[in-house]
Symmetry: C2
Subunit: 500 residues, 2 copies
């Protein structure tokens, strides 16, 4: 019979193994989305499924349950290790709550639904998409029910907990409420105000891709990316992936517009800095991983929205743009040119193209619809109307098609219900962190204007990155900013930037 400490050691060894498999998986996944030759997809799918199965078996191994019981019976003295142990329990509970057959059925249905979506969306064929999504939703409801029972949470909360541990729908609804109430009138005012601003003539390029790439690399340098432990590459959809000490971000280039690639780089660099600064002492262990999707998104949005799109840093960015892409027509780009361009607000149909003022309403729509879909009070066949009504109610515009309505997002196709709230929770946290920094650090805007970001990064590293998963999201926000997670800082930020 092992002692509790021996059991805890066994758990640490096991979770480090799972983490190493995760690193392998991360590189394979990055490779698939960037450089893999197309003929390899079937064999690669097999390799990835094999690693996933091995990882799942290693986590749900009955011995892990025994070790957890033993270790919990005689827990480690160090509170951080207690947190680590609790995270192990949470991961084990999630993984073992669901029968392998159901996991596999959802995985297969998700692949099918994704495939159908890639074909049905461009043709605006909700009738083709609906049966596939219905199948996925049915399986997700089963998963939610199983996790609900295992974790003692409501079904939708059990899904949220996969992405954003300890977060609950009721709390999200509460902190989303001020946005739901205050953003619609704010949007009206911002649009009115911006309509009165003179239009700025802006170059439409062409902007050579090699030059855009060099610009992106300089943006990453400015933001403090460590090129000894990461890369920049190209993929159809920007992402941050890779592995431990090997954090790889991607972007995509258009010759007629440099903004989307550059913004993608800034956003993903925020994710990357978080991954690169996770606590070394907890490497490979649950306590050393990123806290959750909301905090992760807070890091990308802090860099993109709070630093990069700020008026002072835009001056620095304009210098880089001029250096790599040449002037804007007959004169150099100014920070004001870029700031004006990057802060345009409009009511639009597509979430991924939305500005930071309207974006939360896109998320709130999805959050409300998800709850109804999981609860069974909304069925897939009724989704288009519910979606379009919601858009009209929240954003004041009605989609012209399902393609630009309820079929626009990839998330639900593979069963990722419960993920959407993270985007707006992240925006809130980013605004709170920026507000706290501005109040604690002398000459914050001056630093931005000079492109001196080192101390800002150091602050964030200590306040957030190196905390790993040692604190809950709520406790992390409180500890870093002194205030509980909420919408106030985001609303103040938006008011200052767009109506100030």
């Amino acid at each position: 019979m092992t002692t509790a400490n021996a059991a805890y050691e066994q758990l640490n060894t096991r979770f480090k193994k799972i983490s190493a498999i995760g690193d392998a998986r991360g590189i394979l996944g990055w490779d698939m989305l960037t450089i893999m030759p197309k003929g390899a997809s079937e064999a690669r799918g097999e390799a990835v499924a094999t690693l996933d199965a091995i990882s799942h078996e290693a986590l749900t191994d009955p011995r892990v349950g025994d070790w957890l019981n033993e270790a919990e019976g005689n827990p480690p003295a160090d509170p951080d290790h207690q947190v680590n142990l609790a995270e192990m329990r949470r991961l084990y509970a999630h993984a073992s709550a669901v029968e392998p057959a159901l996991v596999e059925a959802l995985s297969r249905a998700g692949s099918r639904c994704y495939q159908v979506w890639t074909e049905a969306r461009p043709e605006n064929r909700f009738d083709l998409f609906a049966p596939a999504l219905t199948e996925v939703l049915g399986l997700v409801r089963q998963v939610a029910a199983a996790k609900s029972e295992a974790l003692g949470l409501t079904p939708y909360d059990a899904l949220i907990d996969q992405f954003e541990p300890s977060m609950r729908a009721a709390r999200i609804a509460e902190i989303f409420a001020p946005l739901r109430e205050q953003l619609p009138p704010m949007i009206g005012k911002v649009i009115e105000r911006q309509a009165a601003e003179p239009a700025r003539e802006q170059s439409s390029g062409p902007f050579p891709i090699d030059a855009q790439r060099e610009l992106g690399l300089d943006v990453m340098k400015l933001l403090g990316f460590d090129f000894d432990r990461g890369r920049l590459d190209v993929s159809p959809h920007p992402f941050c992936g890779g592995a431990t000490d090997d954090v790889r971000i991607t972007t995509r280039y258009r010759e007629d517009d440099f903004a989307s690639a550059m913004m993608g780089v800034a956003h993903e660099t925020g994710h990357a800095l978080y991954e690169l600064n996770r606590p070394a002492a907890w490497r490979g262990l649950p306590a050393g991983t990123a806290r959750g999707m909301a905090v992760h998104e807070s890091q990308s949005l802090f860099v993109e929205m709070q630093l990069f799109r700020s008026k002072p840093l835009m001056e620095k960015v304009a210098q880089l743009v001029n250096q790599h892409l040449g002037p804007n027509g007959s004169k150099a780009w100014t920070g004001d040119d870029l700031f004006s361009r990057f802060t345009r607000v409009k009511r639009s149909l597509i979430r991924v193209d939305a500005d930071e003022v309207t974006y939360p309403l896109h998320v709130i729509l999805r959050f409300e619809l998800e709850q109804a879909l999981i609860a069974g009070t909304l069925e897939v066949r009724d989704l288009p109307d519910a979606w379009n009504d919601g858009m009209e109610r929240l954003l004041g515009i009605r989609p012209d098609s399902d393609q630009n309505g309820c079929m626009q997002d990839v998330h639900w196709t593979d069963g990722s219900f419960g993920y959407f709230p993270s985007y707006t929770l992240g925006a809130m946290i980013a605004a709170q962190l920026a507000e706290a920094l501005r109040s604690q650090m002398a000459d914050f805007d001056g630093r931005l204007g000079r492109g001196e970001l080192q101390e800002i990064r150091d602050w964030m590293k200590v306040a957030v990155h190196e905390k790993g998963s040692l604190l809950t999201t709520d406790a992390l926000v409180k500890s870093a900013t002194g205030a509980p997670l909420g919408a106030d800082a985001l609303l103040r930020h938006l008011g200052r930037r767009y109506l100030g």
Copy 2:
């Protein structure tokens, strides 16, 4: 109790899993050697070691032994499946012959020795290298002893069998003997003859790397590489790696010389065609893998030495060189320019730079020294003298340093004793295959001259690639060429090309 067929099915499932892990491992390995950021090496080492351990455990699982016993007691009726089963037994026997602790000790000592080698070789410090190599050799002798007992082979034969199944040292010595005897006088004659040829003036570039890459891609197209299932990239040492349906070759570029990169591409494309054409029906199973290192090398050398460096194909290659790199000084490259350049023979110290006439003697030296090192009749401290004496005896030149002598190769540093003979066995097989093709296929040289390689590839696909591991090397060579594996065809080829 399972039936024999059920046991065989279990084995197939298990080996497919091991193959899928191998595919993951292949991509991670490729990534490490090409694009991984340097700061990732420790974490990547952990990921790779974890996959290796998982794969080893899956192979040496006692149930695999049980399934083998059951399946062998009631073997599949199909002879090919019997071969597949026998290959499973061979792999299991190799893997389970050695205690995990010894495997790990050798792996660690090998990493250390490689590290020492990278530092000691440039400084010509055999005194630093010797202790590390001694440690590796001691562990390899233990591995050889363990495998000797398990497989009923001599210790050195047991090592050879890891790389070249069913090949034995006595047989290698027998078929190397004509080379050992006839090459030294042949080399003298070739050098004398070439000394009388007028020197050709040749451009030293610079040859832009982008243009060299485009040339390399066109060489791959000419040779029939499938870019939907593979890639060309850059690494310090050219190799062919990757995974199923994702075969990735690399080369390295020098601005002052295009030949090394282009030859690297041609050579590795030969390896790649073999991997790309392995039998689809046996995917993931031992019978579907490449036969061994000698046959693998035969495929790279067939493409490089028998096709690419042939006078007729060189005309076609000259057109590509002119197209991508411009003329040779004031006039276009001719096939003769290139052929003359690529068939220069000299007595040189470094194996990897050696021409095809002297190369086998470099291999024979290592083959003889390896046997003595494993048998214990030669110790590491006496290696420099033994090496230098051997070079003098075989090639007529004595190394000026250990750096250019017994420290030149990487193979022994990680314990790969028994590998070297494959290079020359491969050269022999390549020459035999070419001779058989020339006798069976009308207008062989005409096809080469026109760059029409499709039917040659088709022949090789059927004769070699699609055979996987269904035949032994000897049986494969006999079946493809009608003659037993031997040195005659290689000697005839060299005589024709260099003295004809």
